[in-house]
Symmetry: C2
Subunit: 150 residues, 2 copies
Amino acid sequence: MEHSDAVRMLDVALAEAEAGRAEGGIPIGAALFGADGRLLGRGRNRRVQDDDASMHAETSAFRAAGRQRGYRGTTMVTTLSPCWYCSGLVRQFGISRLVVGESRTFTGQHEWLAEAGVEVVLLDDARCYELMKGFIAANPGLWNEDIGVD
Amino acid sequence: MEHSDAVRMLDVALAEAEAGRAEGGIPIGAALFGADGRLLGRGRNRRVQDDDASMHAETSAFRAAGRQRGYRGTTMVTTLSPCWYCSGLVRQFGISRLVVGESRTFTGQHEWLAEAGVEVVLLDDARCYELMKGFIAANPGLWNEDIGVD
């Protein structure tokens, strides 16, 4: 994919992450785009806002996209490298492409997804990195809760 | 774990699955139990009922359990072998044990979870098998939608 297309998609996810920060939530955002580039759904981590442990950014965007007959050609974009839960989502539903804002503050299983046929695009976006770095430093307990670290 | 304890837990998940069938939904149920055996949350697939693609039985039970500080010692019980999405949930959050009602109609990644340190108990329960077999035969399109098969 074109770098500019990936950044355009990431900007939607980043806007979700920033809205989450403004709400006092965990600042991770995501969006799902169709094969034609149309936005299908967008969302953000909702652990704090809704007391909902199941709504990571990616699952939130997936949910917002509603029921789909299939996911061939779709792109999931997320501000942060996905955890196993969200990587499993991408793999199970056959989402074709994953655009990752940054993977420095948390590094998921990009190779595992690539081996399963998912195209992984890593942007290493400084805005995403600074947003997450600041959040983790200020809220280590909340961050550990969100990724299941005791 | 004792076989009778596993069956007692499965009965909770099966009641959820049967409630889902009665609602016209996909008849898969799950429950999350604490290290002390206490029920933390129970749920069922909600694709049809809520038009919610993100709510598999396991994610629904996980959500119902609310925010937890950790999952060490917990048991996820599900009427049907988990897909990648739900297997990723179990692995990411460090759920200690997985009790599977049956894995004949759908076979998930038990070995992948076991290698990650999850204790997997497979019951091969005839009630779960018959329930799912009948559903898939009657609703192949809906079932494929739920597991991301085109």
